[in-house]
Symmetry: C2
Subunit: 116 residues, 2 copies
DNA sequence: GTTAAATATGAGCAGATGTTAATATATGCG
DNA sequence: CGCATATATTAACATCTGCTCATATTTAAC
């Protein structure tokens, strides 16, 4: 249980950064979100996200190499699923903090509006 | 306690992605990590991270506009601090999942090595 | 006022990233 | 075998990103 803030060596920083970066794109988030409901193949993901097949395929590759998803091939098709359960926590955290931020912004805007 | 997975509208996805992307860079992670110990001014951050002043300044700006940090100006200097407590949770989650992944990799490599 | 210190910003550049159309590589089926 | 379907990959392109140097801006100190 060695607790926490031993500063991460630079190599680890790179890996962590890559992990975050993998989630730093709207289309990839859309993919991940779709997979929360469970494993899907590429075709389904293309339909759900509305993206082009080539592009989705690329993003999937990136998500796999960042360790966010895993790939399972079966016959003709490839199925992708969330590999890393920590993703759920991540999204909740970010969404939560975003809500708060938006709430603050909204309030600020209202105040500004009242001022005039 | 409205639980969770109503699909986020595309606008929100962009915001969330920006949030993740802000953490998707090693130098910015270094900055954030340094700030876990508490508020620091630019000069200190430059020393701690070993980056160039101009570059650090740019990253700080990015972190602020992503809502990760807040800026407080006092006299000559500018102090930055972590704005969003969810960051702590994020880092713990990612570091944890990374440890697991690395452990698996390490084990896999060992197995491969034994095979020859 | 002048000068120095702290921070931010503009411009240029190299390299990464996301998108797309076209093509390649499987795999399944008849 | 030939043909269709599912997925991956290549190449080309525009855009974004991070880095650096030089310079602007702000504030403090004299």
């Amino acid at each position: 249980m060695k607790s926490s803030h031993a500063l991460p060596p630079d190599e680890a920083l790179v890996l962590i950064a890559r992990h975050f970066a993998a989630l730093g794109d709207p289309l990839r988030l859309k993919i991940v979100h779709a997979l929360i409901a469970g494993e899907k193949n590429v075709g389904e993901l293309v339909r759900v996200t509305g993206g082009l097949q080539a592009n989705i395929s690329r993003h999937l590759h990136k998500l796999v190499s960042a360790g966010v998803l895993v790939r399972r091939k079966q016959g003709n098709q490839a199925f992708y699923a969330i590999a890393d359960p920590s993703i759920y926590g991540l999204c909740e955290l970010v969404c939560g903090s975003l809500e708060q931020r938006l709430a603050k912004l909204t309030k600020a805007i209202k105040v500004t509006a009242k001022r005039r």
